[in-house]
C-alpha cells in the first residue's frame, strides 16, 4: 500500500529519463525503456489491486499523502493518492493497455525521426492520466486533467506541423479549455460549499447540501466532462484528433483520456445523487451524442474517422449510463470499450501500416487474405463492439440498456435511442469490416491520384457515390482560416506514401501483432467481470459497491431477459442490414451515406463559421483599436531607423499627448466616482 506513488512515478521517471537521454538511446531502445516503465507500473498496479482485495470491503480506501503542497489557512491541498475500488481498477486498465500500446508503438513508430520524443510524450501522458485517477482531491485530478490535455495536444500535432494540421491540435486545445473552465468553476464551488476538495471529505458531507448547489456542481463538472470526453456540443475535436499517430488515437482518444469525464462523474457520484435534473441532462446529452455520432460514422470513408465517431458514440453510451446513475454499467462499458476500441484502432493502425499509410477504406478490400492475424483480431473487436454475445461488448452494452430502461419515466425513451444506436453501431462496424477485409482489392489498377474519383462500381466500393468531404466542406477553422485538417497518417518517417496498384500488403511486425492478440483475448472475455446471471458473477458490481452512494437497480428476471433479446436483435439487424447493402448490393450505399452525414451534420463547419467569423472579428476589433490608439506610430518607428528629429516631432505632435490623455481620462473617471462618494 505504500507503493501507490510508484504507479504514476514510474512513467514520470520514464519521461524524465527520456527527456535527458532519449535522443541518445534512440530507436528502438528508448521505446523499450518507456514500455518497461509502464509495464513496471502495471505490475505495481496489480500488486496494489491484490492487496486491496484482501482488505475488508469497507476499508478499501487507502490514502497516501506525500506532503502538504499548499498550506493556506483553512484550505490545505496535499499531494496525496487515493486508492479505492474505482481508482484501482482504472489504473489496472490504464497501465495494462498503456503497456500494450507502448509495445505496439515500437513497431509502428520504427524509423521515425522523432522516435524517442514520441515515447517521451506517451510516458508523460500516462503519468498525467494516472495522476488524474489517483489524485485524492479535485485539484490533483485537475492537474492530471490538464496534463493529459497538453499531451493530447502535443501528440495530435506530432507529425503535422503545417498550419492546417496544427489547427487540429489547436482545436482540441480550445475546445478543452471551455471544458476546463467548467471544471475549475466546479472545483471552486465545491470548495465554497464543502470547505474541502478532498474526495474523502465529499462523501459524508454530500447528503447535507442543497439540491440547487449539487445540481450546479454537477452541471459544471459535466461541462468539463463534455470537453474532455467529446460530447455534444464539444465533440468536434475528436475526429480531427485522428491526425495524430494511430497508437495515440488508440491510447488517448479511445481507451483512456476521453473516458476521464465518465470517471469524473462516477467519482463525484455522492454529489450526483443529490443533483436531481442534472442527471437527466447528462443522460440525454449522452443519448443525443451517441445517436448523432453513430449516424455520422455511417458515412465516413476514412478508416480512423469511422472509429473516431464510433468512440464519440460509445462515450455517449457511457454518459447515458452514468446519467441514469447506472455507474457500474458505465464503468463496465468503459473497461470493455477500452479493450475493444484500442484493439480496433491498433488493428486499423496495422492495416494503415501495411497499406503504405493509405487511410481511405474505399481503396482497401480483401485484406483478410494478406493480413490474417490483423483480420482475426479485428474480427473479434468487431463482434465485441457490435454487441454479439458472448463477447465483452454485449454484456456491458446490455447492462447499460437495461439500466437505462429502468430509469424513471424517461427511461424507455432513452432506451429506444440506445437500441437505435446499437443497430447503427453494428451497421457501420460491419460496413467497415466488409470494406476493409472483404470484397475486391480496390487499390489494384488504380493510380495513386485522388481517391473516390476513379473507383469502380464493383464489390464493396462505396466510393463512387460518397462525397469527397475533404474537398467540399468549408475551410474555415477555429481561430484562423485554413484548410480542413487531414486525418491522414502520413509522415516523413516511412518514406513511401503512395499506395501503388502493385502493392503487396504484408503483416506488421510481432511487436504490433502481439498487443492485438492480447487485446483480442481481453475484448472477448472481459465480459466475465460482470455477468448478470447470478449475484456471485457480478464481481464488478460488488467491487465498486462501497464507493457508490446510489445505484439505479437493473430490472428483474423476465424484463432483463427480454431486454437482452432486443439487444441481440439490434446487433443482428445492424449486421444483416450492412450485409444487405454492402455485400448483396440490394440498396445503393449512396442512399445511406448522405453528404450531410459525411460532413458530420455540418456541426463543425457551423462552429467554424460562427467562431471564426464573429469571434475572429472581435479579436480583430480589439487589435485594430489597439493599433489605432497604442500601436500606430510605434510600429511606424519600427526598428529604429528613423532619425531622432522625426521622432521628437512625432512625440510632440501626437503620441505622448495621446497617452497623457489616457491618463487624464482615467483620472477624470476616478474623480467622477469620488464625487458620488462625497458628502459635501
Amino acid at each position: 500500500m505504500d507503493l501507490i506513488w510508484l504507479v504514476p512515478a514510474l512513467p514520470l521517471l520514464g519521461f524524465l529519463t527520456l527527456l535527458v537521454a532519449g535522443p541518445r538511446m534512440g530507436d528502438p531502445k528508448s521505446g523499450w525503456f518507456a514500455t518497461g516503465a509502464v509495464a513496471a507500473s502495471f505490475a505495481v498496479a496489480v500488486a496494489l489491486f491484490v492487496d486491496l482485495q484482501s482488505m475488508p470491503e469497507y476499508e478499501r480506501q487507502v490514502t497516501q499523502t506525500l506532503y502538504t503542497w499548499m498550506p493556506s489557512g483553512s484550505f490545505e491541498v496535499s499531494i496525496g493518492f487515493l486508492l479505492d475500488p474505482l481508482s484501482s481498477i482504472m489504473i489496472l486498465f490504464i497501465t495494462g493497455i498503456g503497456a500494450l500500446i507502448h509495445l505496439y508503438s515500437i513497431g509502428y513508430m520504427k524509423g521515425d525521426p522523432k522516435f524517442s520524443k514520441f515515447f517521451l510524450y506517451l510516458n508523460l501522458f500516462l503519468a498525467s492520466m494516472l495522476l488524474l485517477v489517483l489524485g485524492d482531491n479535485l485539484l490533483l485530478t485537475f492537474l492530471g486533467w490538464e496534463g493529459v490535455g497538453v499531451c493530447s495536444y502535443l501528440l495530435i500535432s506530432f507529425w503535422h506541423t503545417e498550419p492546417a494540421n496544427a489547427t487540429a491540435g489547436k482545436k482540441a486545445f480550445v475546445t478543452n479549455r471551455i471544458g476546463d473552465a467548467g471544471f475549475m468553476l466546479g472545483t471552486f464551488l465545491v470548495f465554497v460549499t464543502f470547505g474541502s476538495i478532498n474526495y474523502a471529505d465529499l462523501r459524508p458531507a454530500a447528503t447535507g447540501i442543497a439540491a440547487v448547489t449539487a445540481t450546479a456542481i454537477a452541471l459544471l463538472f459535466f461541462v468539463g466532462a463534455i470537453g474532455k470526453s467529446a460530447q455534444i456540443p464539444l465533440f468536434t475535436w475528436l475526429p480531427d484528433a485522428m491526425a495524430g499517430p494511430t497508437p495515440v488515437s488508440a491510447l488517448i482518444h479511445a481507451a483512456t483520456m476521453v473516458t476521464a469525464g465518465v470517471y469524473l462523474i462516477t467519482r463525484l457520484n455522492p454529489i450526483m445523487a443529490q443533483a436531481g435534473w442534472a442527471n437527466d441532462v447528462i443522460a440525454w446529452t449522452g443519448a443525443v451524442t451517441a445517436l448523432v455520432a453513430a449516424t455520422i460514422a455511417v458515412a465516413q470513408t476514412d478508416i480512423k474517422k469511422v472509429l473516431a465517431y464510433s468512440t464519440v458514440s460509445q462515450l455517449g453510451y457511457m454518459f447515458m449510463a452514468v446519467g441514469t446513475q447506472t455507474y457500474v454499467a458505465g464503468v463496465f462499458h468503459m473497461i470493455t470499450h477500452a479493450f475493444f476500441k484500442a484493439l480496433l484502432f491498433l488493428g486499423a493502425g496495422a492495416v494503415i501500416y501495411s497499406m503504405a499509410h493509405e487511410q481511405d477504406m474505399r481503396r482497401y478490400g480483401n485484406l483478410r487474405k494478406y493480413l490474417p492475424v490483423t483480420f482475426v483480431t479485428f474480427f473479434v473487436g468487431w463482434l465485441a463492439i457490435a454487441g454479439v454475445p458472448p463477447l465483452s461488448g454485449f454484456w456491458s452494452k446490455d447492462e447499460i440498456l437495461a439500466g437505462v430502461f429502468n430509469y424513471g419515466a424517461a427511461g424507455p425513451a432513452l432506451w429506444v435511442v440506445g437500441v437505435l444506436v446499437a443497430i447503427l453501431t453494428a451497421f457501420y462496424m460491419t460496413r467497415q469490416l466488409i470494406m476493409v477485409f472483404f470484397g475486391t482489392e480496390q487499390w489494384r489498377g488504380v493510380a495513386p491520384v485522388p481517391a473516390g474519383a476513379v473507383l469502380g462500381a464493383s464489390g464493396a466500393g462505396a466510393g463512387d457515390t460518397a462525397p469527397e468531404q475533404e474537398a467540399e466542406s468549408p475551410t474555415v477553422q477555429l481561430g484562423e482560416g485554413s484548410d480542413e485538417p487531414t486525418a491522414h497518417d502520413d509522415h516523413t518517417g516511412h518514406g513511401d506514401h503512395h499506395l501503388m496498384p502493385s502493392h503487396e500488403p504484408k503483416e506488421a511486425p510481432w511487436t504490433m501483432l502481439a498487443p492485438l492478440v492480447v487485446l483480442a483475448g481481453m475484448a472477448a472475455i472481459a465480459g466475465l467481470m460482470n455477468l448478470p446471471f447470478s449475484d456471485q458473477f457480478k464481481r464488478l458490481e460488488h467491487w465498486l459497491y462501497p464507493m457508490i452512494v446510489f445505484e439505479n437497480p437493473l430490472p428483474e428476471g423476465p424484463t432483463l431477459v427480454g431486454l437482452a433479446a432486443v439487444a441481440i436483435a439490434a446487433a443482428v439487424v445492424g449486421i444483416w442490414f450492412a450485409f444487405f447493402v454492402y455485400v448483396k448490393r440490394r440498396l445503393d450505399p449512396a442512399r445511406i451515406e448522405l453528404p450531410i452525414l459525411a460532413e458530420g451534420w455540418k456541426i463543425d463547419s457551423t462552429y467554424a463559421a460562427v467562431v471564426g467569423g464573429p469571434g475572429e472579428a472581435t479579436f480583430q476589433g480589439v487589435a485594430d483599436a489597439d493599433a489605432r490608439i497604442v500601436d500606430g506610430a510605434v510600429n511606424a518607428v519600427g526598428r529604429g531607423s528613423l532619425g531622432l528629429g522625426t521622432l521628437l516631432r512625432k512625440l510632440q505632435t501626437g503620441l505622448v499627448r495621446t497617452y497623457a490623455l489616457g491618463v487624464a481620462i482615467g483620472t477624470v473617471a476616478l474623480l467622477a466616482f469620488i464625487v458620488t462618494r462625497m458628502n459635501l
Partner: protein, 529 residues
Amino acid sequence: MFGLPTQDEPIPFDELPLDDPLLFDEPAGVVIPDIEWSAIAPNLILMLGGILLLTVVSLVRGRTPSWFSAVWTISTAVFAGVTLVPLWQRVQDDGAESVMAGAIGLDGFSLFVTGVMCLSVVLGALLLEGYLRREGLAGPEWYVLLLLSASGGVTMASANDLIVMFIGLEILSVAVYVMAAMHSKRVSSQEAGLKYFVLGAFSSAFLLYGIAMVYGATGTTNLVGIQQFLSETVLTQNGLLLAGFAFMLVGFGFKVGAVPFHNWTPDVYQGAPSPVVAYMASGVKVAGFAGMIRVFVVTFGPTYGADWRPMVYALAMLSLVVGSFGAIVQTDVKRMLAYSSISHGGFILVAVAANSEAGTAAALFYLLVYTFMIAGSFGIVTIMGRTGDGLHALSDYRGLSKARPGLALLFTVFLLAQAGVPFTGGFLAKFYVINSSVSQGQYVLALIAMSAAVVAAFLYLRIVVAMYFDGNTYRGESATLAGPKVRIPAAAGVALGIAVVGTLWLGILPGQMTSVAGDAVAQLVAIGP
C-alpha cells in the same frame, strides 16, 4: 501667546504640546532625530554601494574590467539582502517599529519587499553584464543607476511618511528613466526613455497633488498620524481626502502599469534595453505596489476602504481584460510580455482590492514569484534580441527548440508559470490572490481574474508554439532559427538558472515562502519609547 513656552510662564497641562517631540525634548534649535542606522542598513548599503561604485570607477586609473561593476553590484545587493535576516528576526520577535523620527517603518512588509528588490537587482545585474558587452556599451553607470533606483524602491516600501515615499518614488523613477534611454545605439531606446519620463513626470505630479490633498484633509503627511487621525475623526467634508485618494491612485497606477494608466508600458518595454525592462517589470513594479499597499491598504484601509476599493477594483478589472486581450494580438514578444505584465498587475490589484492581510500576503507572494518569472522571461528576451537588441518579433523565435533546446525549454517554463500552470509559482500566486479575493466576497472579480488567466494562457502558448512547432521539419523542408547565432553569456545563464529554480521551487514547495509572506505584515506604529 507667541513663541515657545518658557520656564517663567507655566502653561496649563492640557496645553502642553505632548505630541510634538521636537518641541518637547529641546525647545530651541534644530534637532537631529535619533537615527538607528541598523534599521535602515539594507537601504543604506544599496545607496552607498551605488555611490561608492561611481567613486571607485572614477578614481581608478584606466578602465576597470567589465565584470567589476557587475560583481560589485551583485555583492552589494546580496549584502543588503543578508542584513535583512537579523532585522527580520528582530521584527518577528519584538514587533514592528518606527524609526527615523517616524519617517521610516520597520516591519515585515518592508523587509520582504526589500528582499524582492535585492533579488531583482541581482537578476538585472546578471543580465546587464553580458548585454553591455554584446552591445558594446561601456560604463558602470548602468549599475550605479540600478543600485540607486533599488534604494529608492526600498525607501518607498518602508516609508511611513508620504513625503518620504514620494522622494523614494522619484529616486526610483529618475534612475529608471535614464536607464531606459541609455542604449545610445538604438533610437527606440531614447524614444522610450523620453516617453517614460514625460508621462512619469505627469503622473508624479498627480501623486504629489494627491499627497497635498490628503495633507490638507488630515493635517499631516505621516502615515501613522493619518491613520490615527482618520480613526478618531469623522470628516464632515471628505471631498478633499477622497480626491486625494483618486490622485494618488493615478500616480501609483501609472507606476504599476494599471489600465487606463498603462499606455506607456508596451512602448517603453519594447524600446528600452531588455535587461532594464527585466528590472523595470520586476523591481519598479514591486516598489510601486509596495507603496500602494502601504498607503491604501495599511493607512486608509481600516477606515476608508469602502471608498477606494471600488476604484482599485475597476483598475484591476480593466488591467486584467486589457492585458489579456491586448496581448493576444501582438506580434512582438516584448510587447506581448508588456501586456502580460499589465495583466499580472491586474492580478496583484485584485489582491490589493481585497484590503486584507491575506490580500497583502497574496500580493507579496505574487510579487516574489513574478520577479522570478518575469526577470527570467525578459532574460530570455535579452539573449534572443542578439546584437542590436532588435530581434523580438514572434517569428524570430521560430525553431528555437531546434537551435537552442535548453533556452526554449526555460522560456517554456517561464511562460507556463506566467500562465499559471500548476507546479510553477505562477499557479499558487494566482491561487492565493483569488483565494484572498473570494474571502472578501469579491466573487465577480475573482471570476474575471480566472477567465483572464485562461485568455492569457493563449498568448503564452503562441510563443511556445512558435518555438516548438513552427520551425520543425515538414516534408523534408526545415525552417531553422533565423538571424545570428544565439549566445548565452555565463552571467545571464546564472540569472536564468536562479529564475527557473525560483519559479519551480515556489511552485512545488511553497510552504516556507507562503508562511514568510504571511508573516510579512505591514504595520504602522508610532515612534517607540
